[in-house]
């Protein structure tokens, strides 16, 4: 504290010392204010980063929650689609004819012009029509009102993501295409309903058709596997270490092991899964079961640590009382301590599972980033998971996938928020303060 007595002040003269302190006090207080200012600035910086992250994702992601559709009156021409030829048929020609009805000037025998005209429709439009006709062949020969997604470029145009005033050569849709689209819009055929396909479709190469169904189911299977394995194993290990393990080198070794496992990078668990589960045991690649197994190994230390903390927080009086009335050590633990510790254990488990849900790297290594256009039927089928689907879409060059990636992130964050809210609720509702 040399500041308090500056070298020029004589310690013998009280007046000058006080004077020196008073003179320096303003400067010292200023220093403290500067420190506080830096602290507040750091906090504001961190929070503003969080806000920027969330707003950028929400502002790009909300576009993907709606999808531009076009309504068409399609005459299911029996000449193009004969009933005996199903499920094959000239579905695209039928759709082209339906589009042509609104543009009499376009010559439908001119292939290039037709292709330009039908480029408004999503590539999946013909399959939507096909599925409809296959499901109900009596539609052949009738006129069907069909609402199909438009392709990505026009979807962007409709949502204002394609600037109409940029020069034509830098735009994804040319002037003629915009004119055609506007004409359809004037006719009232364009609508922008909620994009249910985002949840009900599996992945696709075309942004307007791509959805999260496969990823959601894949994540569900993986998380279920992870829970079924890590929860009992974690609790068993924690009870042993906390209540039964003798204090010896073996117990210490297990403890050190668990603490280190909690800090091993996730990608290393991916390497383990690839070499051991897939390489040595021959389990299938890309399967949610293997993903869940890997995540279980990563989640187990979290659950063990949470369970031990919960067991520790049960007061010794409970144990002593139970022992006192003649319960065995096992009866004390399983009938008294464990039920009382359960809220804490569940809270820790849910938080561990939420971490597992967002984990990506190990799933990439076991191949859960494959391009799969159907939802998995069992935990052993190839599938993606939510975070790996985000990774795949973030890597896709099509513009439409930018908003879909953000939308997928919003879906993932929603699940994480729900899980964490559940954990907080459990803690507040059931955890006892002794």
């Amino acid at each position: 504290m040399t500041d308090i007595t500056p070298s020029d002040a004589r310690p013998t003269s009280r007046g000058t010392a006080t004077e020196a302190v008073r003179r320096s006090l303003a400067r010292r207080n200023r220093k403290q204010l500067v420190l506080q200012g830096f602290g507040i600035a750091a906090i504001i910086l961190a929070i503003s980063m969080l806000l920027i992250l969330l707003t950028s994702i929400i502002s790009t992601g909300y576009h993907a929650f709606t999808q531009t559709h076009i309504q068409l009156e399609v005459y299911v021409d029996p000449e193009e689609i004969p009933a005996e030829g199903l499920p094959r048929g000239g579905f695209d020609d039928v759709l082209a004819a339906a589009m042509g009805a609104h543009f009499p000037a376009v010559d439908l025998t001119d292939r290039a012009a037709t292709r330009e005209l039908t480029s408004i429709l999503s590539n999946g439009a013909q399959f939507i029509l096909r599925d409809k006709v296959v499901a109900d062949p009596s539609l052949i020969g009738q006129t069907v009102t069909l609402k199909v997604p438009v392709s990505d470029a026009y979807d962007q145009l409709n949502k204002g993501l394609v600037q109409r005033d940029t020069a034509e050569q830098f735009r994804r849709v040319d002037d003629a295409a915009i004119a055609r689209f506007d004409r359809l819009d004037e006719l009232g055929l364009i609508s922008t309903p909620l994009n249910t396909a985002l949840i009900t479709n599996a992945d696709s190469r075309f942004p307007e058709l791509a959805g999260l169904k496969g990823a959601l189911i894949g994540s569900f299977w993986a998380l279920l596997t992870c829970f079924l394995i890590s929860f009992p194993l974690g609790i068993g290990a924690a009870i042993y270490l906390e209540e039964f393990a003798p204090k010896n080198r073996f117990s210490d070794f297990i403890e050190i092991n668990i603490n280190n496992l909690a800090a091993v990078p996730s990608v290393v668990f991916g390497l383990l899964a690839l070499a051991v589960f897939i390489g040595w045991f021959g389990l299938p690649r890309s399967a949610p079961f293997v993903g869940g197994l890997t995540l279980a190994l990563m989640t187990m230390p979290t659950i063990i640590i949470a369970t031990r903390a919960a067991l520790k927080s049960v007061p010794p009086s409970i144990r002593e009382a139970a022992l006192g009335v003649g319960a065995s050590k096992h009866q004390v633990v399983f009938q008294h301590v464990l039920p009382l510790a359960m809220p804490g254990i569940l809270t820790g488990t849910i938080i561990g599972l939420a971490q597992a849900l967002g984990e990506t790297a190990p799933l990439l290594l076991i191949g859960m980033n494959a391009f799969i256009t159907s939802a998995p039927g069992s935990p052993f089928d190839s599938a993606t998971a939510l975070p790996t689907q985000i990774f795949i879409w973030a890597d896709s060059p099509e513009r439409g996938f930018v908003s879909r990636t953000s939308a997928a992130i919003l879906v993932l964050l929603t699940f994480l928020i729900m899980m964490n809210a559940l954990a907080i609720f459990l803690r507040n509702r059931f955890e006892r303060k002794w």
């Binding site: 009992p232 393990a245 990608v267 065995s328 096992h330 994480l416």
Partner: protein, 458 residues
């Protein structure tokens, strides 16, 4: 069919439980005193059935595939596998499996169709065998457990011994995981070093693993020098720490000493949210917002900035690490005894001086431990760098350049490739080994510092 053994197993366990309870009750109703409660006799039977039979079923299912595969390959007509390497043989196996699964591509040869039929037959036989074995073993165990029921039988001790064994098994899984990691990494790394010399990997400065490796080539000579990859990781981690350490420490100091209670209560959880955001989201944030912003800023001051700079990846990683460092520093500051604070204040120090001259220095060991853990996080972090950093290894320490990282190389080398016999995939395991060792050393060191320091004040 795969569910049948499990259903039988559960049924047998339930039946055994009920039978034993009934038997114990019958003994008691005769007026004889039981050593253990009836429930323990029931549980004894339940555990005695479930534990061995479940182990049996799981082992069977795990080994079934390999055994069937071997039988199948041995049953193929002579000559069809002659002159094929292991990869081609595997392909044939996969094709037969997919035919058996009903997915037929093109027109396979007749012997493949026959093999597929045989495969289906093998699988059915195996499933039936398993069911029969499960029924027999469960029945035998239920019978055995029933025979044990007697007034003086110590069922409680039996149950407790079994549960203790199960719990020890659970605890040992953690050891097995570590052994698995070490074994997998060591095994593949040794294979890698048989193809590429250790010295070249550790000291070489040229990393070009993506060069196509022809059979007549010596394993891509000169392409596996990992120094630039390590350097890239160090550059990115440094950038991350330059962002995270000051912001994390300053916010911890403010929250710990100066912030009003209500403010602290609101801000701490908000900061924790930053730690809960999945890293793949940070990666997307880096390519969507941060990298373009840095690029634009660079252009506005006349700098040519790559689109996947170490700055973008490291900066975003720094944001992720802020709550990590801040909460560790907060804990360390809180652990400094109140007497030190009171002493400083009594000597006339301002609260700022007390913090910077007394409390902070006293907390430094704990803070260093936290920063070290953050370092190990930063070098092991994968998704942010995979998405935001580059792929090409360069010898540079300029954060505005595109650099690669250890984790990026691991992921890119292994995506879409399963053959474990070429140096490209094995290199990923060698890098993983380095990563594992580095993080292990840092973690052990950091945990030791944190623990030792805590003991001083406790």
């Amino acid at each position: 069919m795969t569910l049948a053994p499990f259903v039988i197993l559960l049924l047998a366990a339930a039946v055994g439980y009920a039978i034993n309870i009934q038997a114990a009750r019958a003994i008691r109703s005769n007026g004889v005193r039981l050593h253990s409660l009836e429930g323990f006799h029931g549980l004894f039977s339940l555990l005695l059935v479930i534990v061995p039979v479940l182990t049996l079923v799981l082992l069977w299912l795990a080994l079934e595939g390999g055994v069937i595969n071997r039988l199948l390959m041995a049953s193929l007509p002579d000559g069809v596998l002659d002159g094929l390497d292991s990869g081609a043989v595997q392909l044939i196996g996969a094709e037969i499996r997919s035919i058996a699964g009903g997915r037929i591509f093109g027109t396979p040869e007749d012997w493949k169709l026959e093999a597929a039929d045989r495969l289906i037959a093998y699988r059915q036989t195996s499933a039936w065998l398993l069911v029969i074995v499960v029924v027999l073993v469960s029945a035998a165990l239920v019978f055995f457990a029933r025979g044990k029921v007697a007034a003086e039988f110590r069922a409680r001790q039996g149950v407790e011994r079994i549960t203790l064994g199960l719990m020890v098994f659970c605890a040992v899984v953690a050891i097995f995981t570590t052994i698995g990691i070490v074994a997998a990494l060591t095994f593949e790394t040794i294979k890698f070093f048989q193809l590429v010399p250790v010295t070249e990997f550790l000291f070489g400065t040229n990393w070009e693993p993506q060069i196509p490796i022809r059979e007549d080539q010596i394993a891509a000579e000169g392409a596996f020098g990992a120094v630039p990859v390590f350097l890239g990781t160090i550059v990115i981690a440094t950038v991350a720490l330059v962002v995270a350490v000051p912001v994390g420490l300053l916010s911890a100091i403010y929250l710990n000493e100066f912030a009003p209670h209500a403010f602290r209560k609101v801000v701490k959880p908000i900061l924790e949210v930053l730690a809960g955001v999945p890293t793949v989201v940070y990666g997307f944030f880096a390519i969507l917002v941060v990298a373009p912003a840095i690029r634009q800023f660079g252009q506005s001051i006349g700098l040519d900035v790559a689109s996947n700079t170490a700055l973008a990846a490291g900066g975003v990683m720094g944001i992720m690490l802020i709550p990590f460092i801040s909460s560790f520093a907060d804990d360390a500051l809180s652990a400094v005894p109140q007497s030190l604070r009171d002493g400083a204040l009594a000597l006339g120090a301002t609260r700022g001086e007390m913090m910077m001259n007394v409390v902070f220095p006293a907390a430094i060991p704990g803070i260093v431990g936290g920063v070290l853990l953050a370092v190990s996080r930063a070098i092991g972090e994968t998704m942010i760098v995979v998405m935001a950093a580059g792929l090409i290894a360069r010898m540079t320490i300029n954060p505005l350049d595109s650099v690669t990282a250890v984790t990026v190389q691991i992921v890119t080398l292994l995506i879409g490739d399963t053959a474990f016999d070429n140096p490209k995939t094995l290199a990923a395991f060698a890098l993983g080994m380095m990563l594992f060792l580095a993080t292990l050393v840092i973690n052990v060191f950091a945990l030791r510092i944190v623990r030792k320091y805590r003991e001083i004040y406790d």
